[in-house]
Symmetry: C2
Subunit: 341 residues, 2 copies
């Protein structure tokens, strides 16, 4: 199956150009006339030449590689974000080297060093392990998504606005008490906006409310057990009151819904539920769950647009340093299904 390797000498012979001219075609095509470029391009087709892009990268330093660091692909959010980033290939032509970090800071650091050795031109970072100050020191353009971003550019969902939308919907549903269930999100992580947005909206409307922040576990079993406990807690503390529950994500919302539904054989009017993410779990639940949809495609595209802009700038003869950090926020979309009125 191996084809005979076509060399610059073969192309030179076929076109009657010098080897230097052929080399210029690959490394500095603008130095040739359009006509000569076309002659050589045709010769490459005729000879079935297999371009060696690595040789080209070696010559001009433009690898067209972008590194992507995700914490995992188990969560639908990360898988879909990666999907959408990969889809930008057709617009920008950058190729993606992917690493799933599994919260192992040392492994991640080692892999990033390896990426840098392969001359990646930039990085999109979704994992939370390495502080942004360190990321900024690596000397390549970096865009962060939904993580601490003090020293790097970023694109995030407007989590605060999402929480305001969710809480406002529960208020309109005439709930007697509003509850927000979440883990202890650090203040410098964008998702903290979900807690703040809930609190501010409740206070503004002087609504009876409670924020429950605790470690809810990671496995399905752990989450289910936490939700079962919280259900008992709410039943006891707020009997005969209409409870509006805003959960941190759709997986949690689905787990809470299943517990209530199995207890009652239906979702009673006394419970209104809204999640976050618009993951498949929300639409495919026993009662389709209202949620706050993140515009993952838009976030991926905005992140790549910023990254491409920074990477292209560096290839200019006199690159202008980017002096200000860019922090973009993408508005989420309220999706009303059957767990709210």
């Amino acid at each position: 199956m191996e084809k005979k390797k076509i060399t610059f000498a073969d192309i030179a012979k076929y076109t009657n150009f010098s080897k230097t001219t052929i080399s210029r075609y690959f490394n500095n095509p603008d130095s040739l006339t359009i006509e000569n470029q076309e002659t050589i391009a045709q010769a490459l087709k005729d000879l079935n030449y297999q371009e060696n892009k690595l040789a080209k990268v070696f010559a001009n330093g433009k690898s067209e590689f972008v590194g992507i660091i995700v914490p995992n692909l188990y969560l639908h959010y990360y898988a879909e974000m990666l999907n959408q980033i990969l889809n930008t290939y057709e617009s920008f032509n950058y190729k993606f080297l992917i690493f799933a970090g599994k919260n192992n800071e040392e492994a991640e650091r080692k892999y990033i060093q390896e990426l840098l050795a392969y001359k990646i031109e930039g990085m999109v970072v979704l994992s939370h392990t390495i502080p942004s100050k360190e990321l900024a020191s690596y000397g390549v353009p970096i865009v962060a998504i939904e993580r601490e971003d003090q020293y790097v550019h970023s694109v995030n969902t407007d989590n605060y606005m999402g929480a305001v939308q969710a809480t406002s919907l529960l208020l309109k549903n005439n709930c007697d008490v509003l509850l927000h269930i979440n883990s202890n999100v650090p203040k410098n992580v964008p998702a903290f906006g979900r807690i703040q947005g809930f609190l501010d909206t409740c206070r503004e409307h002087q609504a009876n409310h409670e924020v429950i922040l605790k470690d809810l576990g990671h496995s399905h079993q752990e989450i289910h057990a936490s939700m079962a406990e919280l259900y008992q807690y709410m039943e006891k503390k707020y009997p005969h009151m209409k409870k509006g529950i805003f959960l941190a994500n759709d997986t949690h919302a689905n787990s809470m819904l299943n517990i209530i539904f199995r207890e009652h054989g239906a979702l009673p009017e006394e419970y209104r539920i809204i999640g976050f993410d618009d993951s498949p779990a929300s639409g495919q639940a026993i009662v389709p769950i209202s949620t706050v949809g993140q515009q993952i495609g838009k976030i991926a595209r905005e992140a790549m647009e910023i990254l491409v802009m920074l990477m292209e700038e560096r290839k200019k003869r006199r690159p202008q340093p980017q002096t200000e950090l860019i922090h973009k926020h993408v508005t989420p979309i309220l999706i009303r299904r059957e767990t709210t009125d």
Copy 2:
């Protein structure tokens, strides 16, 4: 933040070796004594040398890149397979260039050409678009997963055995009629084994059975509508009979379960359900769904082991061509939850 670039000349000066010796250290280290290798390694540390792996690849042709072609990352199965393949980095040190094909044959072909131009050493192909005969002609080692594999190496779930396990469980549940609901899977795709395994097991036990093969749609709405229609069909055709339903995957099983559960406020004894894949949807359903679990981690590892073996062979001075195609089958695992007895 940019560091001054350390050249071979700098390393030569620091160590008192010639530039040729330094070059040999990178391209053919075994030609130096261990002692000299250690001296140079220490110098690289002292000088904070940033290795240029691309230069090394250019010199020896070993890119350590593997291309992965997936149809999408929307389905949990593909996301988890990619996750598990990425996890082999720590064992084999190959880096992964990923492409999500979205069933666009031309885009996929173009991308593969680009991967080849980057001197990838091998490919793992999960998408169904390009025939294996064409894949085999690309001149790099290829391992297919769960797709037509006549001309390439492959690792697949033993779909037939999975179907036998699922069907046997429904038989043990004393169902009056067994139903298998699937799409029209082509015979040369591994997943066809699910249909054949069901049929053979039913016939062997002379069980009353029906296979329903039809386009069930792709979006959640389409699938839900198909399942609602099939539920009505079963209610009418098999009233008061205990129905054992084996569905092609957990998403379908979850949709069918939700329809039955909402109709009855519970899963009645008259319906037993089993899915396929052990995706999160099955464990997190309103009633945890029995399923056939694919050993995704094992499949990913076996595929990479075969690929690495083939890639390493090619780097030998006199590579032995692999004359026989390898087709491995990984046994799936029956997972009994609450939708079966």
